[in-house]
């Protein structure tokens, strides 16, 4: 439940920032997820998911008043990959970029956390959270 809430909030933040064109919000939120999520591994997964949705959703919503697929065909061609495969890759690019930005930032934040936070504190915190969730 916490994870779902974290994804929703993270996605909303990324999505909202994207509406303003502020792409650095994605890695920032991705990093933040490490702080609020019990395990780094989970935080990385949530950051990936939030990035994919936070970047894919605006495109999906745009299809109502835009010829996204037609443009994706053109972009696929520019990328040197014609046909449906090119179109699909072009359409997937924003989600892929968002996901990678979120994932990378969460990974770095988690790695920093691993080095900076004392092992006993970290273990206790993670043990405590695990116990509580049970």
């Amino acid at each position: 439940m916490r994870s779902l809430l974290a994804v929703v909030i993270a996605t909303a933040l990324m999505f909202g920032a994207n509406e303003w064109g502020f792409w650095p919000a994605t890695p920032l939120v991705g990093a933040l997820l490490v702080v609020v999520t019990p395990t780094t591994r989970r935080a990385v997964g949530l950051a990936l998911l939030s990035g994919v949705i936070g970047w894919g959703l605006p495109l999906l919503l745009m299809t109502g008043d835009a010829e996204i697929v037609r443009l994706a065909e053109v972009l696929g061609g520019i990328l040197g990959i014609g046909g449906q495969v090119g179109t699909i890759i072009a359409l997937a690019l924003p989600s892929l970029i968002g996901g990678l930005l979120g994932l990378s930032a969460a990974w770095i934040a988690g790695a920093v956390k691993g080095v900076v936070v004392r092992p006993s504190v970290q273990s206790a915190t993670e043990f405590g959270r695990t116990t509580l969730h049970r």
Binding site: G21, E67, L71, G76, I78, I97, L101, S104
Partner: protein
């Protein structure tokens, strides 16, 4: 524990390297790859180009900074824009706004090309083109032209208002993140448009029309083939029948003055023509290998160069004596590199002092081809020589100096640093003599005197044309026209027709040979220009028509040198126009459109009977069955280069092989290095105007000419023997390309046209499609795979006061827009669109209306 701690550090290092690298890589441009996070951002990236209001405009009110009053812009269903403004200034501003809205990237690309700033956004691949531009100094010319325009003048108002309109779009699109997608893919934003940028664009067009390397190519060929042989093969005036439009008698008035070069003007301005005693400065050398002028010329993007001098443009006018309506007709179709987006943007404007319609070039507010309420005009490239070269006298004891008019003088040096995307700024210096920038060709230094670098008042001329209501006005508008020389074809409401080859025609000393690099010591300097009264022109000629297809405008007795047989197009298209108009009567606008679609080959008409005679029965020649079948196709052929014609394929391949079989042995014998990389420009090209005319003339009149013999084998040959060899080679080549079944050799299966993208991105181009025509036909298509041809076709009928026009492409540069390619099918089938007035457009189906409001009014 220690292991666990080490693992964490390794994880951190890995995360920083891989994760950090990914974040950096996605958010920064790396080499040619843009910052993907910004470029493909779902809200502000390329996807905005897919938004419906970016694909097609919709009816709306717009607040446009700088607008004085409300301006209405109506878009037809095909995107043609009609502007109605209450002040002239608003009209220019609205043109800037509309052009930029639909063509901003194209405008910026051409501006960068002219300024030598392509590398900054494209990368090192554009460096050689940029270096050439810096040598030509178009930016300097544009700045000088701008500085010479008086405050308060009409031209200044035009350029400033236009720039304001363009900048309104740039600001608006930057703010809304809706810049065209190519900006996002290349990862940059356009700078504000300056009035000088429009002048720069004019320079780009001049370069397209008049900059070439034919003179120094002649030197390279001369060194191998021998100067005498080159003079025979590339004569000043071809022995073949010409089709001049301006016939004798020719007058010779006192010369008008002009500078030796643009450089002389700039040197005088900067007072930098110092005495030789001044110590020469030390200058950094150009980095890397110095490329030749020809190589740099080849590096210029296709959209900014006319690569084929033999197939430029058509234009003609017919007086009422030959038309059904009794009023004049005018037709024009400029031939250029076809691109997407097109070089043209169609506009119609109603303003207090200006009412016009026609084809504009984005970046320039004035139509180059079109009509106002009283007159109509079109243009073709004058093709006179406007690029000259000088061999400067230099020696090692006078570094960075040259000897001119009895003194050693210092070369001027301009430092031209060129920013390069993904790399360091390239240090580049341009050294110049009084004649122009120093360039290199085959290891030899020359100074280039390109007349397009001389500041002129070209925009003023075009503005005067818009206000002209008779031929006298029209003629006087071009009084000071410089480069490029253009053949302006004219027809008016009153029934008058004319043709004026306006431009700067330099005159040199008596012993000078401008078709070769000349002595830089002063004897061969320009001594003046042909007086305006003497330049080629004709007004209401007795034959009741005027015509131009880039042919030599005047006959052999014209008392001035204006260019060689290599600079003008061969007369085949001109002859065809002349033939059709001479025989024509009760002509209509439809007849003019049919002429623009004409694919009749006059060269084939002249040569095919001789070929058939030399190969037919009685010739003693034995042909294979396939050769015999191909010959039959040729016998039955009507000389039309139609897509379903097999005879057209046989002819086209025959001509190519005939040119090769005749000239290549000479090139090989004398070791012309045309096969070496960077020397392709020396190859025997089937459309070379000099060689094509030589061969046609010899075939008809000198079948035993010595050039038919093979100097490599020593075999003495005559035309018939070479024709046989060429025919057999042609059948072989067609078999390779089209298969063994001759009935499958339809021209359209072998001869295709494509329309590449201006950005040179294959996916943005229009794919290959069967095409008729060749370099000799009015509907031009040069080469088996062509991207060169009619870029705008217009017909003005003064009987109805109506005009029609079409170009291959669409009004929008957005590849996702229906207006990107929507005109191509009509253009392909030579169906012109009606060019409507504002009122007609307003009443037509499916129009979109923009009300452009002044800032205060829009804000309310």
């Amino acid at each position: 524990m220690a292991n666990s701690q080490a693992g964490k550090w390794i994880n951190l290092a890995l995360s920083l390297a891989v994760g950090g690298g990914l974040i950096y890589g996605l958010s920064h441009a790396i080499g040619p790859v843009p910052a993907l996070a910004q470029a493909f951002h779902p809200v502000t990236g390329v996807w905005t180009s897919a938004q419906n209001d970016q694909l097609l405009p919709h009816t709306q009110d717009l607040t446009v900074p700088g607008a004085e009053q409300e301006v209405q812009v109506v878009f037809e269903k095909n995107g043609t824009a009609h502007i109605q403004a209450n002040t002239n200034r608003d009209a220019w501003l609205a043109i800037g706004y509309v052009q930029a809205h639909f063509r901003l990237f194209q405008m910026d690309l051409m501006r960068r090309q002219g300024a030598g700033l392509l590398s900054e956004v494209i990368g090192p691949g554009a460096l050689e083109a940029d270096k050439l531009q810096r040598q030509l100094g178009l930016t300097r010319t544009a700045e000088a032209e701008w500085a010479a325009i008086q405050d308060g003048s009409e031209v200044k108002e035009v350029l400033e208002a236009y720039a304001e309109g363009v900048n309104a779009v740039i600001d608006e699109q930057k703010e809304a993140h809706t810049l065209p997608m190519m900006f996002k893919i290349l990862g940059y934003e356009p700078q504000a448009w300056k009035p000088q940028d429009t002048l720069l664009m004019k320079g780009v067009l001049a370069q397209m029309m008049s900059l070439n390397d034919t003179t120094i190519t002649r030197v390279v060929l001369g060194e191998k083939l021998g100067a005498d042989r080159v003079a025979e093969l590339f004569p000043v005036i071809s022995p073949a029948k010409q089709a001049p439009y301006d016939l004798e008698p020719y007058a010779k008035h006192p010369l008008e003055s002009m500078p030796v070069s643009a450089e002389q003007l700039f040197m005088e301005q900067e007072s930098s023509n110092k005495e030789a005693s001044a110590a020469p400065a030390s200058h950094p050398k150009e980095q890397g290998e110095t490329k030749s002028f020809s190589e740099r010329l080849q590096a210029v993007p296709d959209f900014a160069m006319v690569t084929d001098l033999n197939a430029n443009s058509n234009g003609w006018a017919v007086s009422g004596a030959k038309t059904a309506s009794g009023k004049a007709l005018l037709a024009g179709d400029p031939h250029l590199e076809e691109t997407l987006p097109s070089v043209w943007f169609e506009l119609q404007v109603d303003a207090p002092d200006y009412q016009f319609a026609g084809a504009t070039v984005p970046g320039i507010p004035l139509p180059l081809i079109g009509h106002n309420r009283d007159i109509s005009w079109t243009m073709t490239n004058g093709a006179t020589q406007q690029t000259f070269f000088y061999e400067e006298k230099t020696d090692e004891s006078h570094p960075d100096q040259y000897y001119w008019n009895g003194q050693w003088r210092e070369m001027t040096v301009r430092q031209e640093p060129i920013p390069v995307k993904g790399g360091a700024v390239e240090a580049f210096e341009v050294k110049s003599t009084i004649h122009g920038a120093m360039i290199e060709q085959e290891g030899k230094p020359y100074a280039i005197d390109w007349l397009g670098s001389i500041p002129t008042h070209g925009v003023d001329s075009l503005l005067q044309v818009l206000k002209a209501d008779d031929y006298a006005d029209f003629q006087s508008a071009f009084r000071d026209w410089g480069a490029p020389t253009m053949n302006f074809v004219y027809a008016d409401r009153q029934g008058d027709i004319g043709l004026l080859s306006a431009g700067c025609y330099p005159v040199f000393g008596k012993d000078s040979k401008p078709w070769l690099p000349m002595r830089g010591t002063g004897e061969d300097d320009i001594i003046g220009r042909i007086p305006f009264a003497d330049i080629p022109q004709v007004y209401n000629p007795k034959q009741n028509y005027v015509f131009s297809a880039n042919q030599r405008q005047v006959g052999d007795d014209y008392p001035y040198y204006i260019g060689t047989s290599r600079t003008f197009s061969a007369p085949y298209r001109a002859q065809r126009i002349s033939d059709l108009l001479r025989e024509g009567h009760d002509l209509t606008a439809i007849d003019m459109q049919k002429m623009q679609a004409d694919v009749y080959n006059t060269l084939a008409q002249d040569i095919t009977p001789l070929l058939l005679e030399s190969l037919g029965s009685g010739s003693g020649v034995t042909l294979t069955d396939r050769e015999q079948t191909a010959l039959v196709q040729l016998k039955d052929w009507d000389y039309r280069m139609k897509t379903d014609s097999i005879g057209a394929s046989v002819w086209e391949m025959f001509w190519e092989k005939y040119m090769e079989a005749t000239f290549v042995p000479w090139w090989d014998k004398y070791e012309v290095p045309y096969k070496e990389e960077g020397h392709e420009y020396l190859a025997v090209n089937p459309g070379n105007p000099s060689l094509a005319q030589d061969l046609a003339y010899w075939t008809q009149h000198e079948p035993d000419n010595a050039y038919f013999s093979n100097p490599v084998t020593g075999e003495k040959r005559e035309a018939t023997q070479v024709m046989l060899v060429a025919f057999q080679e042609a059948v072989k080549a067609l078999t390779e390309r089209g298969g063994s079944d001759v009935t499958e050799w339809q021209y359209g299966k072998l001869h295709v046209r494509e329309i590449p993208s201006m950005a040179q991105v294959p996916a943005l181009g229009y794919k290959e499609r069967a095409a008729g025509g060749d370099f000799t036909t009015l509907n031009v298509a040069y080469g088996w795979e062509t991207g060169f041809g009619p870029t705008w076709r217009m017909v003005m009928d003064w009987g109805t006061g109506k005009s029609v026009g079409i170009y291959p492409g669409g009004q929008s540069e957005n590849p996702a827009s229906p207006w990107y390619t929507d005109r191509i099918d009509s253009w392909w089938s030579v169906n012109h669109n009606p060019m409507l007035s504002f009122e007609e457009a307003e009443k037509s189906q499916g129009v979109v209306l923009w009300r452009m409001l002044p800032q205060e009014e829009g804000a309310r």
